[in-house]
Each structure stands twice: as structure tokens, then as C-alpha cells.
Symmetry: C2
Subunit: 228 residues, 2 copies
DNA sequence: ACCTGAACACCGTTCAAGT
DNA sequence: ACCTGAACACCGTTCAAGT
């Protein structure tokens, strides 16, 4: 992966011209979607979503920015490629091998954790047609099969998945919230009830986890009822 | 509101120089946060979040772009002002006047509807310290008081509100998803279970509403149990 | 078919200068 | 105190030209 950094001691000769391999044939393709995706993920991991620019991506790939547009039609495409790769990191391994509740629990937690580190992609996935996202489609297939096998009524499966996902995406944002997000800060306290509840609820040093568990277990428990 | 459009037939004299009122005193302030907020909301409503630029905002206010920076430190501030105004449109009127379940239901639906029209502000609110958002703080106070009055254990209130909000924000995105988001489109169908479930679940022409109701009622039902 | 180089039409933000 | 005008350091994207 990303061979351009720290690969041995190779120091690219700055003034020797292009060092790119060229076959005898007219052209050796330099770019493809796979290389673009992994370079994009590398940059996002290192500098965040705001640090991902088409110019920076091109630089990482040692290519002119305009060259990218031979493989993607817009920056949005790059984000969609990254998103689909991210989905493959979600843990669906327990579906079909453990009770439905337990498999859904592991799936939801890992789904949230993956996107908590990439909240900028949430607006992308939320509107992304799965047509262009094979990994995403595969996840839906796996989850659907498990829900059906667990005894869910056929007509409730997609709605249930969407409900889970909505909660997961919203909760992913919550993970990234600053610790002092609820600090009222005013000298005069016009929100005594809220402040008291805030104090009483601070039992965990990871409040986002407490809220996620509460909501997730509520969803699982209520949906499990439509099984029998 | 926004007096600069269609106010009578006033045609501003283009070549007569500044027509801005100036008192005898050194200066008449032209900008303030209120004017900036309402102008921003007007632009967002007309052209969406992507259409909101500092230059466009300045133009709407008949001012140089740099003038804005006397009142806000960055564009983020403008978005936070808009967000706080949006919160005041959420319906909290039933809290304290109706059973907890019913009040929470109305609150959640209106909260989702408001942000479904402004999904671009979700990343803003999710990380916005309430210190700078008086309306948001007021909503939390109202909701907290009602939850406490309904008999919620003090230490669960904030987590419950956060769980609701997470589900609401995620669901707001879902409203904006294109209708064909789940169209697999491939000739060979590698996702038969998912496709079948999709077909069976399409009972409503507003699938986002079906999923939201399912999840919301699950949350309400499960949380109501911690009351008694 | 695929890449380069130059250009276009924007962005948000800063800052000296004015009043 | 608050505004203007000019400038800065970027953006994403297009397109004629090369090979």
C-alpha cells in the first residue's frame, strides 16, 4: 500500500525528468480507481476529510490534477469510492452464526465506530445510490438474509435496517462532539434542570457510548418483538 | 424581513452614490448578528447550503465581504447562528401539557422535519457547543424538565435525549435520499434477498416516514419502561 | 486512451486604509 | 467602531494540446 512513502531509501531524482515506467506499447496506464481510492483513504486518514483535495490527491499519485478526471467525473465520486471501501470494514461476521440480537449488536457498534472516524462521509453515504457501491450492497444482502432467517416479516426488514442506520449515523456524529459541548457557560443559570440532569448523567467518561447503548438496546428490544 | 427585495417600487439609484442612512454621529451601524442571520437563512432557503457564500451574504446585505468579519469570526459562526434559529422552530409545545409519549412524538417528528430541510446544518449542530446557542439550550431545558416530570431517572435523561437526537439527525438525512437509492441496477442480481425485501417493504410512497415511525416508536416504547 | 499545462470561475479570509 | 478595496492562498473543473 502507498508505496511512495518510506520505501527503502529511494530518493527520487528531482532533476532527471520522469521516472515513470513506460512499456514499449503506446501507454502504460498510471491511474485506476483502486489506486485513487487507496490514495484518497490514505490522505483522509492522515489529514481528515477537509484535507482531501483533488490537487493533493493528484500529488500523492504523482499526476496532474486533471488526470483524475479521466477516472472520476467529480470529487463526489472519490468520496463514494472511499465510502464503499469503508463499508467493507463493518463487522457482519456474526450474522447467521449467532442469535439475531447479538449479531445486530456487534454489527451496529462496528458500523458506528467506522463512521465515527469518518463523519464527513455520512452525508455522502446517506444519499449514495447503492448502484455504485458494491460493498455496500453486499452488506445489505447479508443483513437482510439474517433478518429474514431470524423471522422478521418480509415487509419490515428494509425499514428496520434503515432505522438502525439512521440511529448509527447520528450516533457517529455524537462520538466526535467535543467534551464541553453541553457547557452552558453563562453566569446566570437559566437552565437549572438541564444542568442538573447533565451532572447526574455523567457516570461514564464516554457519554456517547452510554447514549448509543441505550438507544441501540431500545431498538433491538422493540424490533425483537415483531419476530414471534 | 429582508427589506431589500420587492419593497414597494423603490428603485435604488445606481449612480447616485451610497444611499445608506448616516446619522449625524460618526457612524450608523449597518450590520449586526440579527441581520446576518436572517439574510443567511434567506439565502439558504433559496439556494441551499452550498449556495451560501460569504460573498453572496455580503451582497445580500449590500456590504463588502470583509465587513462581515467585524461580526463573525468565520463562516462557521454564520452557520451556528442559522442553526440556533432553526431550533426555535422545533415544536416543544406539548411538553408539560400532554402525556410524555405524545409530547416526545410530536417533538421528534417536528425536529426531524426541520432538519430534513437543512441537512447541511447537521454536522454543525452535532459539534456546536450550546454555549453559543441560546435557543438550543432553551429547548434542552424544556425537554429535560418534561422528562423529569414524567418520572425519568435523573441520570438517564441526557442520554435519552441524545439517543433521540441521534436517531432524528440520521433520519433527517434519510428523508433527502433519492427514491432510487436502493436501485441495484445490475443485470445479474447478486442480492436477491435484499431486492425481495425492498419490494415487500414498499408499502408507502414515503419510505423514510415508515422507517422513522418504526424506530421512533421503538425508542419511545423502550424508554417508557424505565419510567415506572 | 490517457496524461500535461494553462486557464477559468470561483472560494474564505486578511489587512492596510479610510471615515 | 466599522466599513472598503485589494490582495492572498487556495478550491474544483475544463479543455486544447500532446503522445
Amino acid at each position: 500500500m502507498h508505496a511512495s512513502r518510506t520505501c527503502g531509501t529511494r530518493t527520487p531524482p528531482a532533476s532527471e525528468g520522469l521516472s515513470r515506467r513506460r512499456a514499449g506499447r503506446p501507454f502504460a496506464a498510471i491511474l485506476d480507481k483502486t489506486r485513487i481510492t487507496s490514495a484518497a483513504l490514505e490522505i483522509i486518514g492522515r489529514k481528515g476529510y477537509d484535507g482531501l483535495t483533488m490537487a493533493g490527491l493528484a500529488k500523492q499519485l504523482e499526476v496532474a490534477p486533471s488526470a483524475l478526471y479521466n477516472h472520476v467525473t467529480a470529487k463526489r465520486d472519490v468520496l463514494q469510492l472511499a465510502e464503499d471501501h469503508l463499508i467493507s470494514m463493518v463487522d457482519v461476521s456474526l450474522f447467521g452464526r449467532a442469535p439475531w440480537e447479538e449479531a445486530a449488536r456487534i454489527w451496529a457498534w462496528s458500523y458506528r465506530d467506522v463512521f465515527a472516524q469518518h463523519t464527513s462521509l455520512i452525508p455522502v453515504i446517506a444519499v449514495l445510490p447503492v448502484t455504485n457501491a458494491p460493498q455496500t450492497l453486499e452488506m445489505y444482502e447479508t443483513v437482510t438474509r439474517a433478518f429474514a432467517a431470524a423471522g422478521f416479516p418480509q415487509n419490515l426488514i428494509v425499514s428496520s435496517i434503515v432505522a438502525f442506520e439512521s440511529f448509527i449515523f447520528g450516533s457517529a456524529y455524537d462520538v466526535t462532539a467535543p467534551d464541553d459541548i453541553f457547557e452552558a457557560g453563562s453566569t446566570v443559570d437559566s437552565t437549572p434542570h438541564f444542568r442538573a440532569a447533565l451532572k447526574a448523567g455523567r457516570v461514564n467518561e464516554r457519554p456517547a457510548d452510554t447514549a448509543f447503548e441505550l438507544g441501540l438496546e431500545a431498538l433491538i428490544a422493540a424490533l425483537a418483538r415483531s419476530l414471534c
